[in-house]
């Protein structure tokens, strides 16, 4: 049914009224409680002038985020998911829970306590036009490659398609519990932790995204969880714990948001029985694929595409082998938010351009780098990821980042930032590279750092290049 929105899909989904749907904080929510609270809050939304404005969900609690999103869908409104830790100035009807209320309370806030959920709302003037954006869309903010937040518009049908795809991959089914420790305002966090489980009756316990491995293990044991979704840094910490932890009946763990280093994956699979997956996707495309991570796969392997995702490679001038990964998927976003309305995604004909450089080997996708991150060395294009892979294989290198550094003669040169476990010298590093890289690929500047700066998601932050 093309018209079925999120609310109807959850109400008519696999979860029974008195089944536990979500556990967040100290509260377990049944489907009946979620649906009833959403209906009450939808009535509240209906009494407010929201024409042309999205509902900005600035709440910290994952279950309350589900309630507000369900309510907005029922009221035929568009939702914008906001990070309560870094509030957006995006205009709209801003909804907060007690954890995100500013001090002193920001008037004119409206407090609603019906349905067991306490919410405050106030209207902030429009900053973007919703022209061209289908009603009941969900907008996810993504930092993109420039660092400026952009709203990715996902119509209700694509949210549902993505959620069903993820549920099939995770084996989400009625009554089979899971634990999720990720960011519910991100596209994948919402899909893995709220949309997919609510459609399939999987009781999910949400734990804070800053949970450390012992906290995750305890939540998994207490909840009898079979699945765990976490962030890459959590699996990196898990790989380094002094003694193995007890994960009870866990059968599957998924790291999502950024690549998981093979060394960490190897350490985990050597100690634990559960299967560890590295998931690949984006806010624009939804979930695309996942690779079983054993530590033995090649860096950048992200697995075979999920059913319904069709990939192709388009050769890129100056890049040998592979090409730009382009996709067709029925979970594709409608576009980006703009001040004057919906802006288009980047297409090549009717193929979505991911901007990722990849190879496809035996049906599996292997990401080599980003199209936009190519370093132009005197007209020769160099992939930083390719250099990073060579440097990362050096036994004394524990982390690496390659960025473009300006050069008077060549325009740009590769500059390497290295984290080493021993007293590695620049000369030793360059000797390692000489037999493995072409001359134009050689790092021309090397600096040793204590750690590569990363975002909360585990993605490297591109700071100023080493001088």
């Amino acid at each position: 049914m093309a018209d079925a929105g999120f609310f109807a899909a959850v109400r008519d989904g696999a979860g029974r009224s008195d089944d536990v749907a979500l556990i967040s904080g100290k509260r377990a929510w049944t489907y009946r409680e979620l649906i009833t609270s959403a209906e009450i809050f939808a009535g509240h939304l209906g009494r407010h002038p929201t024409t042309g404005l999205p509902v900005v969900v600035d709440v910290a609690d994952a279950a309350v985020r589900a309630v507000v999103t369900l309510a907005a869908d029922l009221a035929q409104l568009t939702v914008l998911h906001s990070d309560p830790g870094a509030p957006t100035d995006f205009g709209g009807l801003v909804v907060r829970d007690s954890a995100t209320l500013p001090e002193p309370s920001e008037p004119p806030a409206v407090r609603t306590t019906d349905g067991g959920v306490e919410l405050w709302t106030h209207t902030r003037a429009a900053t973007h036009s919703l022209a061209g954006i289908p009603a009941r869309s969900q907008i996810f903010l993504t930092s993109g490659s420039t660092g400026t937040p952009t709203g990715v518009v996902r119509p209700a049908a694509t949210v549902l398609t993505d959620a069903h795809r993820i549920a099939a991959f995770m084996g989400y089914e009625q009554g089979l519990p899971g634990v999720v420790s990720t960011l519910a305002f991100h596209c994948y966090g919402f899909a893995y932790g709220i949309a997919a489980p609510l459609l399939h009756g999987t009781p999910i316990r949400h734990v804070p995204s800053r949970s450390i491995p012992s906290q995750l293990a305890r939540a998994v044991r207490e909840h009898g969880a079979r699945t765990l979704v976490g962030l890459p840094f959590q699996f990196q910490l898990l790989a380094g714990t002094a003694a193995p932890l007890d994960f009870g009946e866990l059968r599957m763990a998924v790291s999502s948001g950024a690549p998981l280093p093979p060394a960490a994956a190897g350490a985990i699979t050597g100690r634990y029985d559960f299967a560890l997956y590295n998931a690949y996707g984006s806010s624009e495309t939804g979930a695309l694929s996942a690779a079983l991570s054993t530590g033995e796969q090649l860096p950048g392997e992200v697995g075979t595409p999920f059913p319904g995702v069709v990939p192709r490679l388009v050769p890129v001038d100056g890049v040998s082998g592979g090409g730009e990964l382009q996709l067709r998927t029925d979970a594709l976003a409608a576009g980006y938010t703009g001040t004057d309305g919906l802006l288009p995604l980047d297409f090549d004909g009717d193929w979505y351009r991911t901007g990722d450089l990849a190879r496809i080997e035996d049906g599996g996708i292997r990401i080599n780098g980003r199209l936009k991150n190519i370093i132009n060395v005197a007209g020769k294009k160099v992939s930083p990821a390719e250099i990073e892979r060579v440097l990362a294989r050096h036994p004394a290198v524990t982390d690496v980042q390659v960025v473009a550094a300006p050069d008077d003669v060549r325009g740009q040169v590769p500059a390497a930032r290295i984290v080493t476990s021993s007293g590695l010298t620049v000369a030793e590093l360059l000797a390692w590279c000489q037999s493995r890289l072409a001359p134009h690929q050689m790092p021309r500047r090397v600096s040793f750092l204590d750690e590569i700066p990363r975002s909360a998601m585990g993605k490297p932050l591109k700071g100023p290049e080493p001088s």
Partner: protein
């Protein structure tokens, strides 16, 4: 019963290992660790994982307010109250 001095000394040793900038400085237990570039919220979580095994403490379930761990003294207090 482990003494507070023992915990503080262990933490100072550990932070000197993980924060090279802290090596030269005589780290005081009230020093704000945010002055060191390498010390961020993930650094705090890493230190907590280390404290768990080093002092056999149990980190409770609630959301960790990492702002509470920005000095050696505060971390030591946390260890002593969670043993």
């Amino acid at each position: 019963m482990i003494s507070r001095e023992t915990v503080v000394a262990a933490l100072v040793g550990r932070l000197a290992e993980t924060l090279p900038e802290a090596r030269g400085a005589a780290l005081q237990e009230t020093d704000d660790l945010r002055q060191f570039a390498g010390f961020d919220s993930l650094g705090i979580l890493e230190t907590l994982v280390w404290l768990e095994s080093e002092f056999d403490i149990t980190i409770p379930d609630e959301d960790l307010d990492v702002e509470n761990f920005q000095s050696v003294g505060r971390m030591a207090d946390f260890v002593l109250t969670h043993r």
